[in-house]
């Protein structure tokens, strides 16, 4: 067994080391991009159309910007990116590893666009163009913006009077150098400069609006801007909806590719992408085969290497002695599955007929064979054979069927090539098998002769046949004119295709292990918030991904930073805030999932929901919504300031449950609740005259709280989903939730070239930073103190309740009355068998569902019940441990049972139970850390809240642990004191002194 394990281990290691094949081959010509290559194109451009025109079988990958496309190429995710040549030149000029192919895909004209009816503006633009060209400015501009190497020069300052109004210019400032953002965060570029001149001509001011490329045309058409330009190509399609100026720049679509393709294995320099590429290489063929003739005829410049057998042929190609090999297509599956280094370069280059070979003088036999062939084709056996051998994949190895034969007429000597391979001839388990073998066996039976195979090298086949050493030949013999000179063929019994195979490393092939979009995560580990819509999303879209669920954003981030997950999904705005603090993370994509957010209501509470929807409409109409939206969801929410709030002291109470997770929806800062949702509910309370109360709990408990009537509304960036809508009612959507996928920078293709610049902080500085962030800042220590009070309060009272109850249960358990004892035993086993968290939630959400009870009381009750179950057994043990004789002595001495217990048993039992009781008590204290689930803000919840703001996992957790530890120590010390004072031996000396006085 050990040996097997060792072998497996070695194989696994080898596979891992050599399994990844990342081969890139340098593309030097446009033609090399043929053959189903992957192209990166920006969305919303015409580039994709042009690519498909030129390369109909190209695979397209869409990216947000041309820069992303180029990075995709650099990262090996795409072979080439296609875009306007000047832009690509610009990019190539700044990136060592990229180069623009000389040949352009298509020529292109840039134009500015105006609204269809704005002929006047169009004419003006054309005029300006003429002028600029005439006075040399145009040439200056060209030189300035399209330097051969390096950055474009700075934009010249152009005075604009602006007496005639404003020229609204829309652009997508991501197309350097036509329109882009410079180091000073100004929008500059060729197009911008040109537009300035147009504005100047019109005597107007230039107002530049930046937008997504894909948004430019709609913006123009809807009249939001007057003119657009950003290296915009003039196309017929576009000309249907906008009016183009005359072309102001002749450009074209070019392809940018990697310049230094370094493969995992040694760079071989060959980059075979099609059959043409082998014309001057070393081609391996089977000696005397049709391929031989074909290759010799068609590739005169190639070096044809002839091999005696298939195995020699394969050896040659595997070891690099041949660059390409012709092979029967039908046998390739089998070959490739065994020879992992080989792959198909070109399939079915030509096809040939296969027939059986006969001696020229043996017409009789040949005729018989032809009849036989007709027969099996007629009666369906031929079909079966084809199905059995030709259509199956190699994994299903077919079995030779039983063929009865007469063997009365002597033997039939058949020349075969035993290592020809499937589907024709192989040896398996010592027996011949394959299409040719079955065919020949059937034929032998047909003519009642005994089938006698004669294994010969391929090259000797024809000679043997001619000299009658064998009667016929079946070895996937291809019918060719050349051969017909020597032998006679039967009718063709199979048409075979011939393909060319080469080593994988020589074939243009690309793969990458870096991530460029969400699909790359299809089989990786993804972390999400438990109970969110991402769960359903992932299950549906990427069922193979392994999903981990977390309770808080801080946990999510921790998981991806430490590599426990490969990527995490969370709210985009939150992600942006996060990334400010976590340098090593980046957003992979932010368009995975957009969901609307809504406020949750109890299904029965239609009135409140309608009221809220009315309120939403109101604030949207009067602009309040807009301001809120901007404050929280567009600008940096960390800098937002909550507007002041007067909580109406009305009789109508509104309880809103939130889960304090993070900005921009709900957060806890400076001792107050802040966030979009908070502002929203406050406004609602103010305007509709409710007395607002906000309670916090864990996210998964929110829905339960609503259903149980503990809260009237719940909100915290909750996505509206069908599943949730079954349990609760949603308000109208009040915001859109964009999901961002966050990954470590190191695993993103985009950042693969970047070096990590870490500023090393000293250890103490880090600690003091953490301390400040987690405790001092925003008065977070107050949170901790409040939490601590609650924890201690619950612990002590739960212990009291539990001890008393435990004593009662113990009494019942030890009672002689069967009913009491049975009840006690049942109680103990149920309480001991239920997790405290489940118990807590059952009591809060089910038992006290519609009762307005303080959750702290519920906590005390639940923990008390649980505590009682355990301590009752402890008490019982300690009581039993006092020997029975003393009890008898007490009884005999005239004590009642109760007196005996109190004076004699209990003092002794107490000494026995205290040590274990201590432990149970400390356990109770720690157990209280789960009360966050029923909206009690204890010490653990306080640390969670702090974590949700600082995203620092380390400090708040350690701090909470330390505080719990201190509580435990204090309590243990207190109980120790009790233990000692109960010890009779201590009293001995005291009493002696007393009596002797």
């Amino acid at each position: 067994m050990k040996k097997t394990y060792l072998q497996c281990f070695i194989i696994a290691v080898t596979l891992i080391l050599f399994g990844c094949n990342d081969k890139d081959v340098r593309i030097t010509a446009l033609s090399m991009l043929e053959g189903g290559k992957t192209f990166a194109v920006p969305t919303g451009t015409a580039a994709d159309q042009f690519v498909l025109q030129r390369f109909p079988d190209a695979k397209l990958e869409y990216y947000n910007s041309v820069l992303d496309c180029a990075l995709a190429v650099k990262g090996g995710k795409a072979v080439a990116a296609v875009y306007d040549k000047p832009v690509l030149l610009n990019i190539a000029g700044k990136n060592e590893g990229l180069a623009v192919l000389q040949e352009m895909l298509v020529d292109d004209n840039y134009g500015f666009a105006v609204q269809l009816k704005d002929v006047e503006l169009k004419n003006k633009i054309d005029e300006v163009l003429e002028e600029l060209k005439a006075n040399g400015t145009y040439e200056d501009m060209s030189k300035r913006w399209f330097p051969a190497k390096g950055e474009p020069a700075a934009m010249p300052v152009i005075e604009l009077a602006g007496e005639n109004g404003v020229l609204r210019f829309g652009t997508a400032s991501v197309t350097e150098p036509m329109s882009f953002v410079d180091g000073n965060r100004n929008i500059v570029g060729f197009d911008i400069e040109f537009a300035s001149y147009v504005a100047k001509k019109l005597g107007k001011r230039l107002e530049i609006t930046n937008m997504e490329f894909g948004a430019m045309l709609p913006a123009l058409i809807s009249g939001k801007v007057d003119m657009i330009g950003a290296g915009l190509s003039i196309t017929e399609e576009r000309a249907k909806s906008v009016l183009f100026s005359k072309s102001y720049y002749l450009s074209g679509l070019a392809a940018i590719v990697k310049t230094d393709g370094v493969s995992e294995e040694k760079a071989e320099g060959l980059n075979l992408s099609s059959i043409d590429d082998i014309r001057n290489k070393r081609i391996g063929v089977l000696l005397g085969s049709v391929h031989d003739a074909y290759a010799t005829k068609n590739y005169p410049d190639a070096e044809i290497m002839q091999y005696q057998s298939i195995s020699d042929l394969l050896l040659a190609i595997n070891s690099g002695k041949a660059d390409a090999v012709f092979f029967d297509h039908s046998g390739l599956n089998d070959i490739l599955s065994i020879n992992k280094k080989l792959d198909i370069l070109a399939s079915n280059v030509f096809s040939v007929q296969v027939g059986a070979g006969f001696n020229k003088d043996n017409d009789e036999l040949r005729e018989k064979f032809n009849s036989f062939l007709k027969e099996i084709k007629a009666n369906g056996i031929y079909e079966q054979m084809i199905e059995r051998w030709m259509d199956k994949s190699t994994s299903e190895i077919s079995e030779m069927p039983e063929i009865k034969s007469m063997k009365t007429n002597g033997t039939l000597k058949v020349g075969i090539v035993s290592d020809l391979g499937l589907p024709f001839t192989i040896i398996r388990a010592g027996n011949l098998s394959g299409f040719d073998i079955e065919l020949t066996k059937r034929f032998s039976a047909y003519i009642a002769k005994e089938f006698m195979p004669v294994d010969l090298p391929f090259g000797s086949m024809l000679a043997s046949l001619s000299t009658n050493k064998i009667d016929m030949v079946t070895c996937s013999l291809m019918i060719s004119e050349e051969r017909k000179k020597q032998i006679d063929f039967s009718d063709s019994y199979y048409e075979s295709g011939v393909s060319v195979i080469a080593r994988k490393s020589n074939i243009a092939h690309s793969s990458a292990s870096k991530l460029t979009n969400l699909d790359d995560l299809a089989e990786k580990k993804i972390g999400i918030f438990s109970g969110t819509v991402h769960d359903a999303f992932l299950t549906k879209k990427y069922p193979k991904a392994s999903v981990s669920r977390f309770e808080s954003t801080a946990d999510l981030i921790l998981s991806v930073s430490t590599g426990k997950t490969d990527a995490v999904m969370l709210d985009l705005i939150t992600a942006r805030i996060l990334l400010k603090r976590n340098d090593e993370l980046a957003i992979l994509c932010d368009d995975a999932l957009d969901t609307p957010l809504g406020v949750g209501f109890n299904k029965k509470n239609h009135a409140l929901r309608d009221e809220f929807n009315g309120f939403l409409k109101e604030i949207r109409a009067d602009g309040t919504y807009g301001a809120m939206h901007k404050r929280w969801l567009v600008d940096d929410p960390e800098k937002a300031i909550m507007p002041p709030f007067n909580n109406p002291s009305s009789d109508k109470k509104l309880v809103v449950a939130v889960s304090v997770e993070d900005l921009p929806y709900v957060a806890f800062m400076n001792g107050n609740y802040v966030g979009f949702d908070i502002e929203m509910v406050r406004l609602f309370a103010e305007r509709r005259n409710y007395n607002l109360e906000i309670i916090t709990m864990e996210f998964p408990s929110l829905i339960a709280a609503l259903a149980a009537g503990k809260a009237d509304m719940i909100t915290d960036g909750i996505s509206i989903s069908k599943e949730r809508a079954e349990q609760i009612d949603f308000s109208d959507s009040y915001a859109e939730f964009k999901t961002a996928v966050v990954v470590p920078k190191t695993s993103m293709a985009k950042y693969s070239g970047e070096k990590k610049t870490e500023t090393k902080l000293s250890f103490w500085k880090k600690i003091s930073n953490s301390f400040y962030n987690n405790i001092i800042r925003e008065q977070r220590y107050l949170l901790i103190i409040e939490g601590l009070k609650i924890t201690v309060f619950i612990s002590i009272f739960a212990a009291l309740v539990g001890t008393i109850l435990g004593g009662l249960v113990c009494f019942m358990r030890m009672s002689k009355k069967k009913a009491l004892s049975a009840f006690a035993r049942l109680y103990i086993s149920i309480l001991r068998g239920t997790p405290v968290l489940v118990l807590l939630m059952i009591i809060y959400y089910i038992v006290f569902a519609s009762v307005n009870i303080n959750p702290v009381l519920v906590a005390i009750f639940a923990f008390g019940l649980n505590f009682a179950a355990y301590v009752s057994e402890m008490f019982r043990t300690s009581i039993d441990s006092v020997d029975n004789g003393q009890k008898e002595a007490g009884i005999a001495g005239g004590f009642t049972k109760v007196q005996t217990f109190v004076y004699i048993i209990m003092p002794q039992a107490l000494r026995h139970v205290l040590p274990v009781y201590k432990g149970e008590f400390v356990s109770l204290v720690k157990m209280t850390s789960i009360v966050g689930y029923i909206a009690v803000q204890d010490l653990t919840k306080a640390s969670d809240i702090i974590r949700s703001r600082t995203f620092d996992a380390f400090f708040p957790l350690i701090m909470a642990a330390v505080i719990y530890l201190m509580i435990a120590w204090l309590l243990t010390w207190a109980l120790d004191y009790v233990e000692v004072s109960v010890d009779p031996k201590r009293k001995k000396i005291k009493r002696a002194e007393e009596v002797n006085q």
């Binding site: 020997d883 004789g885 003393q886 008898e888 002595a889 007490g890 009884i891 005999a892 001495g893 005239g894 004590f895 009642t896 007196q899 004076y903 004699i904 003092p907 002794q908 000494r911 009779p984 031996k985 001995k988 009493r991 002696a992 009596v995």
Partner: protein, 360 residues
Amino acid sequence: MISIRNLSKHFGDLVVLKDISTDIKKGEVISIIGPSGTGKSTFLRCLNLLETPTGGEILIDGIPLLDKKSDVPKIRQKMGMVFQSFNLYSHLTILENLTIGPVKLLKKGREETNKKALELLKLVGLAEKAYSFPDELSGGQKQRVAIARCMAMEPEILLFDEPTSALDPTMVSEVLSVIRRLVREGMTMVIVTHEMEFARNISSRVFYMDQGVIYEEGTPEQIFENPQKERTKAFIHRIRSLTHHISSKDYDLYALQGEVETFCEKHMLSKKESDYLALLTEEVLCLQSDFSDIDLSLSYSEKDGTLEFLCANTGAPLNMLEEGVADDDIGLRLIKSRCKSVGYKYENGRNILMLTVKGE
């Protein structure tokens, strides 16, 4: 003081006490003796209801103990019990062991109680251990404390459940001395004990319990010197016996002699005695003519070392030991020389020969 009528106690199917009726008067010292497992302790424990009788009646000073309305704890306060395993309260000092009862139950003042307790301890000779804990005392000391603890409650009657059974011989005497002292002071006591000498010396009455009843009772003289009933006798004399029945003349003499030899080994009789017995067995049987129904019995009293050989033969009266009856007198002479005494009687159709074997 205590009246017991038809007391019975079953533990499920096991009958421990069958039917006991007796009276215990004030000032009496009653020892209860008997073989193990005959219910002596059970009987005693029934007296203060540590065991609940299955049937019968117990009256303490006229108050029925078994009545539901009776305040049993109060009654118990007047009865002290001393246990085989001492049962001192291990979390209290010796002094406190003594004072807890009076203070908590009799509501006596602490100071007064403490003083009394110390005196009691002096009485039992353990005043210096007043502030020690029970686990610091030896067995004998513990038992004496236990007695003192009982005395502290000023009981009317003391019950002792094998008070010295758990003590080694050296400590037994110190406890017995204390008990003797109490007797001298006139305390009513019921003592279950195995100390025969002690029981004989101090008791006013002795109960021999066997088979679930008071088998025989009487003064110490009556019971110890002159036990009437069979089992009492056997118990008192610590008689051990061997019996053998013969039903045909083809009996196995060697097996019989083997049994005899084993008996002698078991009871560590001397070689001489063993040899004599072997010989006697053979000779006596030679004297017999009718072997259809013979009973042989060999009795050895551990107490006084008497070895008795008995042969009972069913048939017409005939004394084989008489001169001239047997065919030859060698056998007779052999027999007589080895016996201290020989006897004959005819009873119930059986000729009984009784021989007392010579010992050392």
